[in-house]
Each structure stands twice: as structure tokens, then as C-alpha cells.
């Protein structure tokens, strides 16, 4: 008997891929899908998890190489910010805990939306996955296991899933002109920082949408293409610094620059595989969550991924992306001078978070808001991972760090709370509350004005 229980608990449910497939199966059964559909969905979820892990294995290989040549070439460590990469790493170790934390986040989100006036249902699956990852990682490394671990990350994450869309909503209403959708993307604190700066500098500045941007920037919209554009120099420059002799021991006779180029492409390929896995993994979970949530919270406002805002200000997306990249490059150079880690600009975040932040900046402070706010945003999202690095390092993660600002904030707040560093926790919460208040204080009035105008 004991053996059977042991088999179920350890071998079956201990396998994160199996556990998450079971969760998907439960969701499918609750939606009363046909047997064939249930089997298909369960199987695909299982497959998705394994593909995600395969992707992370590819990335880890090339990342280790980059770390080596970077350290050798520049005498210091560089950190790649890629939330998916670090989440994949954590999932290899803590997959089951992350999966269960995700379930608790779903549940807490529904409960809060049901009981409070904040009717946001967070539907961006991958963002919730990153949120449950950081919750599980920080809790686990602070010594929590089992139910306390899952509940801590889950309840905090569930609150974030409602609070973050809520504090962004006044600006989102202003961008979209309606209250139908909310923004569900855990980079909200960064957006508010940009919006706050835009508010200070942007008085009377014209909208970015009156600009005509060159067409050839459009290829940047293709995520993997733009990732490749940045990863190539990210590998070639350190390779140049490290020199051919050092790289010879990796490259097996291939030219050192060619080898580094291939490694950078390998990184992009790994990211492609990783994201394909995440896509399969979430395919059944998100509709199930959505179906259940919409039934329990009839007047729910879906919080969706950031590109929902892109059509409202496509120029601001490009401007925000470029400005954020400038800011993150400045941050990469300046922060190490203050003894912080060197954070290499993460293109995915720069594009999605930077683009959305640009839309926020433009909505509040026009072109100046999008440009100056964007540079500050770039600095901010480089600063946050830099102060998280010491914590991650003490947990054994090197070379890669989280990227999305709300996810990092969760890590910082929970991590410092576990270390009883309440001053940091308090200051951070006050800071976020302040910028949320500052951005939204007069925005509310603007919306009223807008309504009057259109009426």
C-alpha cells in the first residue's frame, strides 16, 4: 500500500510535467469537453512542458559559453535578462511547486475578483507562470516547502494579478477609451515609472502618432528576428574581447567569431523552442481558467497581454522600444560603476515592456513622455534586476536573471520579507503606491474631461 502511495506522490505527481497535465485534464473535464478532447489536451500539455525543458537545455548550453567568454573578456560577469530562461531553469528543479502555485494564483485571482470591486481576471498565462516561478523560487530558498511554499507564492501572486491591472487601469482607460479590457502583463510598475516621468516632462508635448517612422523598423516586430539582431553583437563583442586562444578550447577548430555567431543563433533557437513549449503548455490551462472565471465573476474585466495596447499607438511602441533600449544600455554601463551587476539588455523585455511603456508615456506626456520616460524606464528595468542579482546568486543562479518589473518586485519584496528586512519591503511598497497615486491622481480627471468632450 505504502509503495502505491509513494509511487503516486513521488513518481507520478512529483513529475512536474505529469502534474501540470493532470491540472489541464481537470480543467478540461470541468468544461465538460469530450473524452477525445480531454485526452488530446492533457497529452499536449505534457508535451508542452517537456518541450519547454528541451528549450531551456539549449539556452543553458549557449549561456554558459557566453558567461565564460564574457568573464574572461571583460573580467566581470554579465547577466542576461530573460524571464523565460530563468523560469525554465527553476522549473527543472521546482516544476511541481510552480505548477501548484499557478493553481493557487488562479484561485486567489477569482476569489478577489468575485469579492471586491476589482473585477480583473488575469489571462496572460505566461506572465502568471513567471509569477508563480519567482514565488516558488524565493519561498523555497527561504526554507519553505509543501503547502506554506505554494500558498505564500500563490496568495501573493494572486493579489498581484488583481492589483497590477487595477493600478494601470486609469491610464489604460485613457489609451483605449473604454473599460472593456485591462492590461495583464507583469511589467506594470515599469509602465507607471515611465508614465510618472512623462507626467513631469511631457506638458504640451505632441503625440508620437503624428510622426512618420521609417518602414524598415517594422522588422523589429518579429520577436525572434529582433532577438537575433541583439544576441549576435552580445556574443561577438565578448568573443572579440576574449580572443581566439581562449575560445579555441570550446570551438573545436572553428573560427572563434563564427563559433560565437553560431552560439548566438543557438540561443535564439533555444528561445524559440522554449516559447513553443510554453505555448503548448498554456493552451488548455488558460481557456479553462477563463471559462471558470467568467462563470464565477460575471462582470469580469479580462486583463490581457500588452500587445492589446499596441494598435492604439503603434509609433509610441517603436519610440518606447528604442528609448528603453537606450536607457538599458546606459544602465548596463553605469550600474557596474556603483558595484551592481552588469545587466545585458534583454530584447524581449525591451520590446514588449518598452513598447507598452512608450504607449503609456505617450498617453500621459506625448513625444517627450515617450522618449525621456522611455530612457528612465530602460534604466529602471535594468536597475531592478541588478538589485535582485545578489539574492539570485546566493540561490545559485548565475548568468541569467528575471526581467519583468512586477515579477522582480515580487521577488524583492518576498525575499526581503523572508530576511526580515522590513525597511526595504516598506520603502518599496511606499514607492509603488506613490507612483501609482501620482500617475493616476490627475489622470482620473482627464478621463472625465475626455468624456465631456465626446459627449
Amino acid at each position: 500500500m505504502n509503495e502505491i502511495i509513494n509511487f503516486i506522490v513521488k513518481d507520478l505527481l512529483g513529475q512536474a510535467s505529469i502534474l501540470i497535465a493532470f491540472i489541464a485534464m481537470l480543467g478540461l473535464i470541468l468544461q465538460k469537453k469530450s473524452t477525445g478532447k480531454v485526452a488530446e489536451g492533457t497529452f499536449k500539455t505534457l508535451l508542452g512542458f517537456l518541450i519547454m525543458i528541451a528549450g531551456i537545455n539549449i539556452i543553458v548550453g549557449t549561456l554558459t559559453y557566453l558567461n565564460d567568454i564574457f568573464t574572461h573578456g571583460f573580467g566581470m560577469k554579465g547577466y542576461i535578462t530573460d524571464v523565460a530562461a530563468i523560469a525554465g531553469l527553476a522549473n527543472k528543479e521546482l516544476g511541481s511547486e510552480v505548477a501548484l502555485t499557478l493553481m493557487v494564483i488562479f484561485a486567489v485571482n477569482i476569489i478577489i475578483a468575485r469579492l471586491t470591486p476589482w473585477k480583473y481576471i488575469f489571462l496572460t498565462g505566461q506572465a502568471l507562470l513567471w509569477m508563480s516561478t519567482i514565488g516558488a523560487v524565493i519561498g523555497y530558498k527561504a526554507g519553505l516547502t509543501g503547502a506554506p511554499l505554494i500558498l505564500t507564492g500563490g496568495i501573493f501572486g494572486g493579489c498581484m494579478a488583481v492589483v497590477m491591472p487595477a493600478i494601470a487601469q486609469p491610464v489604460v482607460r485613457r489609451i483605449t477609451g473604454s473599460n472593456d479590457v485591462a492590461l495583464g502583463h507583469f511589467c506594470t510598475i515599469g509602465y507607471l515609472v515611465q508614465a510618472a516621468v512623462a507626467k513631469v516632462v511631457g506638458k504640451g508635448s505632441k503625440s508620437t502618432e503624428d510622426l512618420t517612422l521609417p518602414d524598415n523598423l517594422k522588422f523589429l516586430q518579429d520577436t525572434y528576428l529582433s532577438m537575433a539582431v541583439v544576441m549576435v553583437p552580445m556574443y561577438l563583442i565578448p568573443a572579440f574581447a576574449a580572443g581566439p586562444e581562449y575560445i579555441a578550447k570550446f570551438s573545436n577548430g572553428m573560427n572563434y567569431l563564427m563559433y560565437s555567431f553560431m552560439q548566438s543563433m543557438q540561443f535564439v533557437a533555444g528561445a524559440f523552442v522554449l516559447y513553443s513549449g510554453v505555448r503548448l503548455l498554456l493552451n488548455e490551462l488558460v481557456p479553462a481558467f477563463r471559462g471558470i472565471a467568467m462563470r464565477l465573476v460575471p462582470d469580469a474585466i479580462p486583463a490581457l497581454d500588452c500587445p492589446v495596447l499596441f494598435p492604439y499607438a503603434p509609433n509610441a511602441v517603436i519610440v518606447g522600444f528604442l528609448a528603453t533600449t537606450v536607457g538599458s544600455i546606459i544602465g548596463m554601463i553605469v550600474l557596474p560603476m556603483f558595484g551592481l551587476a552588469m545587466i545585458l539588455p534583454g530584447l524581449l523585455t525591451n520590446f514588449f515592456a518598452g513598447g507598452t511603456a512608450g504607449v503609456f508615456g505617450n498617453a500621459i506626456g506625448g513625444r517627450r513622455g515617450a522618449v525621456i520616460g522611455g530612457i528612465v524606464h530602460g534604466l529602471f528595468i535594468t536597475f531592478l534586476p541588478a538589485i535582485l542579482v545578489p539574492m539570485l546568486e546566493s540561490y545559485g543562479f548565475t548568468g541569467v536573471t528575471f526581467s519583468d518589473s512586477d515579477v522582480i518586485s515580487t521577488g524583492l519584496v518576498l525575499g526581503h520579507a523572508f530576511q526580515h528586512n522590513w525597511v526595504f519591503v516598506g520603502t518599496f511598497i511606499v514607492f509603488v503606491t506613490f507612483i501609482a497615486w501620482f500617475v493616476n491622481s490627475k489622470t482620473a480627471k482627464h478621463i472625465e474631461d475626455k468624456v465631456h468632450e465626446s459627449a
Binding site: 498565462g125 494598435p311 514588449f352
Partner: protein, 101 residues
């Protein structure tokens, strides 16, 4: 069966949002459709009858497509507006004389 592809940059978030909306629209219209979501990089690698996406990605997908191919790319201004998807899809199907409505 109609093959519908929803497309965005990363193939994770907003294409999925379109997919969920589109599925309920096709259900309402009573059209059998196989709806899936993917990245803009992969979109042209799959055979599809309709592509639903945002303007920026529609521009990429139609940039060197023939006129006939471009027609199937439907550009949406709101990702989760059922009425918009319904209107545009119905107009496309009528134009193409595809049965099912």
C-alpha cells in the same frame, strides 16, 4: 474545415486572446473552424484560410504576398471585440464565396 491562424509577435499572449474570441465567434456563426495561434515568424509556414492579427503583423505578413494571399490576412483594431471579428470574417467569407454561412 476552415483553418484559422491567429498571429502575434511572440505567439503567446495576444494571439491567444484573439483565438479565444475568434473561437466563440465561429461557434456562434455555426462554422466549423480549426483555430490556432502562433508567431508572426511561423505564420506563413502553415497553410491557412484566414489569418487574424494586428495591423503591425498584418503589414509584415502581406509585405511580399500576392494580392490573393493578402486578402486572407484580416487586420483587427481590437483583439477581443467579437463584433469586429464577426463582421470582418463574414465579409471575407462572402467575398471568397466560402460555404458555411
Amino acid at each position: 474545415m476552415l483553418k484559422v491562424l491567429c498571429v502575434c509577435g511572440c505567439g503567446l499572449g495576444s494571439s491567444f486572446a484573439i483565438e479565444m474570441t475568434a473561437k466563440s465567434v465561429f461557434k456562434k456563426l455555426g462554422i466549423q473552424a480549426d483555430v490556432d495561434h502562433t508567431t508572426v515568424s511561423e505564420a506563413n509556414a502553415f497553410k491557412s484560410d484566414i489569418i487574424l492579427t494586428q495591423k503591425v503583423f498584418a503589414d509584415i505578413l502581406t509585405s511580399d504576398a500576392t494580392e490573393e494571399e493578402s486578402k486572407r490576412v484580416i487586420s483587427l483594431s481590437k483583439l477581443t471585440d467579437k463584433d469586429e471579428i464577426e463582421t470582418k470574417v463574414v465579409a471575407f467569407l462572402k467575398d471568397q464565396n466560402i460555404k458555411g454561412i
